[in-house]
């Protein structure tokens, strides 16, 4: 890996329906043998995400979100440009999650050079429910996008 540390951080709760989306993306990438990035799974507490971003030059943050778009819709944001206020990230019941992590990283000057947020629109966040069909399709697609982006970075070297 020559382009600095690349991390993929899948955020979510595996026991809460579509909230598992981010972590499922991380699992797909790991299962596919992605070797060019460090792949992490986190529950979504902001300071934990911030710690995972440390020393990364490039970071991909993947989380479920709820903005009113159709289930399975995929949003891609550059964290440096800010995250839209109307999008709720991470259904973490602790209320201090991905969006706060990004803002905290900015406030502390700790945002990686490239920090891309993928958000997958969820429809059901009920405890002990499975991931919905629409979100499952989006998980596959996001895993592919993230892998392509990592490989594009490598080619650019």
């Amino acid at each position: 890996m020559t382009q600095g540390r690349v991390v993929v951080i899948g955020v979510g709760n595996l026991d809460r329906g579509d909230d598992a989306a981010g972590r499922e993306v991380a699992r797909r990438l790991r299962a596919a043998g992605e070797r060019h990035a460090e792949i992490l799974e986190l529950e979504g507490e902001a300071t934990g995400i911030l710690a995972a971003l440390e020393k990364a030059e490039t970071a991909f943050l993947v989380d479920a979100c709820f903005s009113g778009a159709p289930a399975g819709a995929i949003h891609r944001f550059d964290a440096a440009e800010g995250l839209p206020a109307h999008t709720n990230f991470s259904l973490s019941s602790h209320g201090f999650g991905l969006a706060e992590a990004v803002e905290l990283a900015k406030a502390l000057g700790a945002l990686p050079l490239r920090c891309i947020v993928y958000a997958i629109e969820g429809e059901s966040f009920e405890i002990s429910k499975p991931v919905s069909a629409a979100v499952t399709r989006a998980i596959e697609e996001v895993a592919m996008h993230v892998r392509d982006e990592i490989h594009a970075l490598l080619r650019r070297e």
Binding site: N13, D15, E41, L42, E43, G44, E45, A46, T47, G48, L50, A51, S92, S93, H94, G95, F96, E100, E103, L104, A107, L108, G109, I127, S128
Partner: protein
């Protein structure tokens, strides 16, 4: 008659979703409701029908912030039931993993949720823009707690290394050495934290609380001890249900706990531990408490942030003590065999006492489980604070009063996510 309502639809900077409604009449607080509307979580029902050995892995999922507290109360209750005593290095490792969780949880609350109240910010992010060095210190300190959990718990999320009888794997002595170096730094950072929070401006209000905590003859309370209060209570965990009762209230999906026989609301958590076990803190923690003007007892709930800072120093000291004395045990756990019975335990989660009760059959299947988290236990006391304390601030302009109400709730570091229980369905068929 003037009537004023302070309504906070969604409380900011508390864990979980809750709301607050305070009604004032002629400057006097008429009612205060701390509303918990987080959906029910069914964990007690999930446990029924499962084998008892699954308990630590199931209860760890109740909370992403304090999984160890759930695991510790769960394994202690089951060991109590099975007649197993975990001693020596394994017992010490349990104190160590609990130290990690206290550091993590206290520091997150101090820096990200509570300090902004005193420094005039809406949240930790805004505060970080002006107090970057302090926030970086807090984040680094929290990470040390996290590393303890990771090493002893086996992974960062939902630790998997805790089992009934001990651990699946005990660390080698040399694995703990790097932690010791980090903890020495953490202790200094905790000291700076205590000095930092002591500079805040605290509202001067006090109440005559009923403090409830665990008491151990030789140790600051963590994993075991009798349940005691400053008003004469002194019982074993097995007697919990005989002395405490949980009731449903219309405005909350969490249960309200009270002492039976008119004993009323009580306060559990850092303030209770501090007031009833000050002498058992480490020398540095006691010395710091005196240095920052906290004294040996504290009844001002706004100063709970100072108490948490002192407890963080203690947790660093205690973790270092365990690591320095540690010898790897021959076996990482004490064997356990199922037998029918009921077991109880209470341990000290960062936010306060956490009580578990399990009933299992001869095959080890859980027939019934009861879990009473600290936020449920503190909820009635929190409402009393709002009535009593906010009454003293009723002349404040509306916005400031609202802020003071929110700050009062945050004194408790309530974890609404943990407190939410399924409400019992009662059908009156006449």
């Amino acid at each position: 008659m003037t009537r004023k309502t302070v309504k906070v639809d969604v409380l900011a900077r508390v864990e979980g979703e809750g709301a607050l409604k305070v009604v004032l009449r002629d400057g006097k607080v008429e009612s205060a409701e701390f509303n918990i509307f987080e959906p029910p979580r069914f964990f007690e029902a999930f446990l029924r029908g499962r084998h008892f050995v699954e308990t630590p892995d199931i209860v760890a999922r109740i909370c992403g912030i304090c999984p160890i507290a759930y695991q510790m109360s769960g394994v202690h209750a089951l060991e109590n039931l099975l007649g197993v005593k975990v001693e020596g290095p394994l017992r010490d490792l349990r104190r160590l993993i609990y130290c990690g969780e206290w550091i993590e949880s206290h520091v997150l609350h101090i820096y990200m949720l509570h300090a902004p109240d005193f420094l005039g910010y809406d949240g930790g992010v805004q505060m970080a823009r002006d107090h970057g060095d302090a926030v970086k210190r807090g984040l680094q300190l929290k990470k040390v707690g996290n590393e303890i959990l990771q090493l002893l718990g086996g992974r960062e999320i939902h630790p998997v290394n805790v089992r009934v009888g001990g651990f699946h794997r005990a660390p080698r002595k040399r694995e703990l050495a790097p932690l010791a170096e980090k903890l020495k730094w953490a202790r200094e950072a905790a000291l700076e934290t205590a000095r930092w929070v002591a500079t805040f401006d605290f509202p001067e209000r006090e109440r005559d609380y009923t403090f409830v905590t665990l008491r151990h003859p030789d140790e600051y309370p963590f994993n075991e001890g009798r349940i005691v209060s400053n008003k004469g209570l002194d019982i074993s965990a097995a007697e919990y249900d005989a002395h405490f009762e949980e009731t449903h209230v219309a405005h909350s999906t969490a249960l309200h706990s009270h002492l039976r026989d008119g004993g009323g609301a009580y306060l559990t958590g850092p303030m209770a531990r501090y007031n009833l076990a000050f002498e058992q803190l480490s020398a540095l923690a006691k010395e710091t408490a005196r240095e920052i003007g906290l004294g040996e007892s504290c009844r001002n709930p706004y100063r709970s942030i100072m108490v948490r800072a002192v407890e963080t120093i203690y947790a660093c000291d205690e973790a270092l003590r365990v690591i320095e004395n540690y010898e790897q045990p021959d076996r990482p756990f004490v064997p356990v065999e199922p037998r029918a019975g009921v077991g109880h335990a209470a341990t000290e989660a960062p936010r306060g006492m956490l009580y578990h009760r399990y009933q299992i059959d001869d095959a080890g299947t859980i027939a019934d489980a009861q879990i009473v988290p600290p936020t449920s236990q503190n909820q009635a006391c929190l409402e009393e604070d709002l009535i009593d304390i906010i009454g003293g601030f009723s002349d404040l302009p509306h916005k400031e009063l609202q802020y003071r109400c929110e700050q009062t709730v945050r004194n408790y570091d309530p974890c609404i996510s943990c407190a939410t229980h399924f409400l019992k369905l009662e059908i009156d068929r006449g």
